[in-house]
């Protein structure tokens, strides 16, 4: 088939944008970026921001691992060594969660993709969209301010009464997280309104790409849960400054109340982090298998189910905190229910690959890694959801390994997969496929080497957040550190491949992978107006008209020849009047 012989029919390909159409070049100067209302440019600015935050927190992660190379601590020395370690792991967690994972897919990829995939010209509230980005920047400034003031050593969870009594910059950091919460709410609100009101004719709910379903579910959580975080953090600040007596037992408060408040947001936030990844992977698997997604409705509904069930399971973070037995057991039961929708998705992705026509491109390699790693992350959640085993594993490295498999092996790998998938669309450049696949391989091996040993560390009883540890754990910690360095190399490799493409990459065609969703119907990069007129919406997963055009290295949509105006004039006299019968 790949001989370049396209089936007969009308070939549809938007070609390439002119400089004045291209959203990247249609206006110039730094101000045209800073004050842009174009969702694509805001998405790109978010992308730069979250990648910078990720790089910074990633370096902190490497410092953590290097310190743990030796039982008594290898990197930080002297009387303040433990303090320095505590500050580094706190900032690693806080920056990764608030500045990277939560905004990564929804804000960076989502801002770029939601309107284009939907067939709209922009989001519903472009100004709010820009302000959401600036709130993110302000939040980031507060975090960096905390770092340079007196550090932060509470862990990203700000547990009371430690956080109300420590002399580090808790107020600066919580203010930062509070502001970031609003950034997240603005994005979520924008997407909900956009998806509800701005679908072009023909874009019914069940013709939306699954990425949009995932974004929609995520937005629901962002809008409903984030205010609780805002309130909690404000109460924490009030407790610290005015001793209002809600969280600190010294003033008749209850520290466990804080945990309930905090996890009422932060557990749904886990789904803010992972649901968009499900959406990305659903699209990646389908496009690169060139096959209709299997069980579209089950995947769409399971996203909504996860979003709603995710609100009911926060208590499993407190299984050892001394809640009543009945409460604990109910939370355990609810926790198990949320595992079902996630399992459904894994089976659906596998069924999509079955009898497909798989291209092992870079995004597909990342998607396969995702399924492998996320499955491990999900299954090990069962050990933690089961009450008896959790009594042993709670707050050990087993938990650390579990959530890194979900957050890094899941969200980060999906983010990278999505980035490689939509990179040609965002910047109009093709990257080195070989380089991309190598980066994926290194990340896969490095990641497993880092976190598989941590499961064993946990079951052997190594507590988390330890700056020093007993010598019997040293070997596994060293394995993990070697893995982390390898993971760092892989990530650097991915960054180099992408940056290299900006300068040396081939010009990308409109549809380099053979996708059928709307973003592949506009040029790469898209024009600043996305679509000249409301696009014709088809089935997002119908790949039958998408054909490989080997001559031009691109996929095109081939439609059967249609006679718009028939040549032949109809007879003026009726057939029965001709007298031939």
């Amino acid at each position: 088939m790949s001989t370049g012989s396209l089936p007969a029919g009308e070939i549809r390909d938007p070609g390439f944008p002119t400089r004045s159409e291209n959203y990247l070049t249609n206006s110039k100067g730094i101000l045209s970026w800073l004050f842009t209302l174009d969702h694509k440019r805001i998405g790109v600015m978010y992308l730069v921001g979250v990648v910078a935050a990720f790089a910074f927190a990633g370096v902190l992660a490497l410092m953590i691992r290097l310190h743990l190379l030796q039982p008594e601590g290898a990197l930080f020395k002297g009387a303040e060594a433990n303090n320095q370690y505590n500050q580094v792991f706190t900032l690693h967690g806080a920056i990764m969660v608030f500045l990277f994972i939560i905004p990564s897919i929804p804000a960076a990829l989502g801002n770029f993709l939601v309107p284009v995939m939907l067939g709209a010209k922009d989001v519903a509230f472009p100004r709010m969209n820009l302000s959401s980005f600036y709130l993110w920047v302000f939040g980031a400034i507060f975090f960096i301010g905390a770092l340079f003031a007196s550090g932060l050593d509470t862990g990203w969870t700000f547990y009371t009464p430690y956080s109300t009594t420590t002399d580090t910059s808790v107020i600066l950091a919580t203010t930062g997280a509070f502001i970031l919460g609003f950034s997240s709410i603005f994005t979520g609100l924008n997407f909900i309104v956009t998806i509800n009101t701005m679908r072009p004719p023909g874009m019914t709910w069940f013709r939306m790409p699954l990425f949009l379903w995932a974004t929609y579910s995520t937005s629901i959580i962002q809008v409903l849960a984030t205010p609780v975080l805002g309130i909690t953090l404000l109460l924490l600040i009030a407790e610290r400054t005015m001793h209002i007596g809600i969280f600190d037992p010294e003033f008749n408060g209850d520290p466990v109340t804080f945990q309930h408040f905090f996890w009422f947001y932060s557990h749904p936030a886990v789904y803010i982090m992972i649901l968009p990844a499900f959406g990305v992977i659903s699209d990646l698997i389908s496009v690169h298998s060139h096959k209709r997604i299997f069980g579209y409705r089950f995947i769409a509904y399971s996203s909504i189910a996860i979003a709603l069930l995710g609100f009911l399971v926060w208590g499993h973070h407190m299984f050892t905190a001394g809640m009543g037995s009945l409460t604990t057991i109910i939370f355990s039961a609810l926790t198990f229910t949320v595992s079902v929708p996630s399992a459904i998705k894994v089976f659906n992705w596998l069924a999509t690959m079955y009898k497909g026509s798989i291209s092992l491109t870079t995004p597909m390699c990342y998607a396969i890694s995702f399924i492998f790693l996320f499955t491990i992350g999900g299954l090990t959640g069962l050990h933690l959801g089961t009450l008896a085993t959790d009594q042993h594993l709670h707050d050990t490295y087993f938990v650390v390994a579990h959530f890194h498999y979900v957050m890094v092996g899941g969200t980060l790998v999906a983010f990278l997969g999505g980035l490689f998938h939509w990179w040609p669309k965002m910047f109009g450049k093709l990257y080195s496929e070989l380089g991309g696949r190598i980066s994926c391989g290194i990340i896969f091996v490095g990641f497993n080497l880092t976190f598989l040993p941590q499961f064993v560390l946990g079951s052997r009883g190594m507590p988390r957040r330890y700056a020093t540890y007993d010598p019997e754990f040293a070997f596994l910690h060293q394995m993990s550190t070697v893995g982390a360095l390898l993971l760092g190399v892989g990530l650097l490799c991915a960054l180099i491949v992408l940056l290299h493409s900006l300068f040396r990459g081939k010009r990308a065609p409109a549809n380099p992978w053979g996708g059928a969703t709307l973003e592949w119907h506009c040029t790469s990069p898209p024009p600043f107006y996305n679509f000249e007129r409301a696009p014709i919406v088809g089935d997002p997963y119908d790949f039958t008209p998408v054909e490989w055009d080997a001559e031009n290295d691109r996929y095109v949509t081939v439609e059967p020849e249609r006679e718009i105006v028939p040549d032949k004039q109809p007879e003026t006299a009726p057939a029965h009047a001709s007298g031939d019968h």
Partner: protein
């Protein structure tokens, strides 16, 4: 070659049970380990086919660009219902087994041996009743043990991996946990203990549990960790559990630490208290700055306070600082110390003050004759105090 053989032996270790779990030393351990393996096997039953199919499909259906998929089935409702509902049976199984064994582990049996636990930044004090406190947890083999736990500052969590037991300790309330140890600690030979003691004294850095793997009394032990992040020295908030084989042995150990023997010098006993009761965690004796001020510059020193005043660190000031640590805080330090009210007898405090004198740069022993007089006075004073102090402890106990 050598490195190679080490690697292999390390890998071989992972076929052994102990490579995955610490020693199983309580009645909970078997339940929990069994359930852990059950869940792990169920996970593998799902994971191996998933991963196998993933890579098999990726290779088998890998086709050149432009080739069409062999099938475009959009859904298959019975199949999807099957894989949505099928795994739920395993989930219900895990939930029920987990919850049942959790309830068993939570119900404290009547008449359990009760030990009070006080957690603080960053150490443990176990209360054996009648004024006996020690950082190590000593319990009896095959005897259900209940821990009544409280924290004097932030949230801590008591975790004994060998017992598979863990519970948070929340300030402002009591939390309880229990377990029944099934493996007794062994005792090393006196010879070896003596050798270790000489060695440790030579190093002068306190007892190294990790290196020696037995306590200063010569018992092997199980690790006890704090697993809720509690600040700077969270990772050093560790102690040990010793399981005694007989009640006599346990009582003998408790008696050894119950109070100062008649022939023990107060300063020497004060030094033991300094090590044992957690002072050493925050106060150095060599002038280095830790969380609290060093004892080298304490006794007899005129100290500037955080509120701008200054005070002479005499016996009364030190006594007040032990009982009400937040009253007069030395400038440059946080009011981080928990109160030791009701936990140290008057004699203990007297011994600590005597010890502080010996390490302070600001204390010069008086004329020998006068000192003899003073120490005699003090000893008499201490003797007088003791009976009434014991009464006081007794009432404290009943109030607690």
């Amino acid at each position: 070659m050598f490195a190679n053989s080490t690697t292999w032996s390390l890998l071989a270790d992972y076929t052994e049970e102990y490579a995955w779990f610490p020693e199983a030393a309580s009645t909970f351990a078997n339940d929990i380990d069994w359930l852990f393996w059950f869940i792990s096997i169920v996970c593998l039953v799902f994971f191996i086919p998933i991963a196998g199919a993933l890579f098999y499909f990726a290779v088998k259906y890998n086709k050149p660009k432009g080739e069409k998929a062999e099938s475009n089935t959009s859904h298959n409702t019975p199949l999807e219902l099957a894989w949505s509902i099928g795994p739920s049976f395993f989930l219900v199984g895990m939930f029920v087994l987990g919850a049942k064994s959790y309830l068993d582990h939570r119900t404290v049996p009547d008449g359990a041996y009760d030990v009070g636990v006080q957690a603080f930044k960053w150490g443990w004090t176990m209360d054996y009743g009648r004024g006996t406190f020690h950082p190590e947890l000593h319990i009896l083999l095959d005897e259900p043990t209940k821990l009544s736990m409280r924290s004097s500052d932030v949230i801590h969590s008591l975790y004994v991996p060998a017992f598979r037991a863990k519970k948070d300790i929340v300030p402002g309330r009591y939390n309880y946990m229990w377990f029944k140890p099934t493996v007794a600690s062994t005792k090393v030979s006196d010879q070896r203990l003596q050798k270790a003691k000489t060695k440790m004294e030579g190093l002068g850095q306190g007892w190294d549990y990790d290196e020696l793997q037995f306590t200063p009394d010569g018992y092997s032990f199980f690790d006890l960790y704090c697993t809720e992040y509690c600040g700077k020295n969270h990772s050093e908030m560790q102690t040990v559990v010793v399981v005694h084989e007989t009640l006599d042995d346990l009582n003998a150990w408790i008696k050894k630490y119950s109070k100062r023997g008649p022939d023990v010098d107060p300063a020497t006993y004060g030094e033991a208290l300094y090590e044992r009761r957690g002072c050493a965690g925050c106060h150095s004796v060599d002038g280095s700055k830790r969380v609290g001020p060093s004892f080298q510059e304490s006794y007899g020193n005129q100290r500037p306070l955080a509120n701008g005043e200054s005070v002479l660190a005499d016996e009364n000031y030190i006594r007040e600082s032990i009982l009400y640590p937040k009253e007069k805080v030395v400038a440059g330090y946080q009011p981080a110390m928990p109160s030791y009210k009701g936990q140290l007898s008057d004699d203990d405090i007297y011994c600590l003050i005597e010890y502080l004198k010996t390490v302070s740069d600001y204390y010069t022993p008086e004329e020998p004759a006068a000192e003899e007089q003073a120490s005699e006075d003090a000893t008499v004073g201490a003797d007088e105090v003791e009976p009434s102090e014991e009464n006081e402890e007794g009432t404290d106990e009943s109030v607690d």
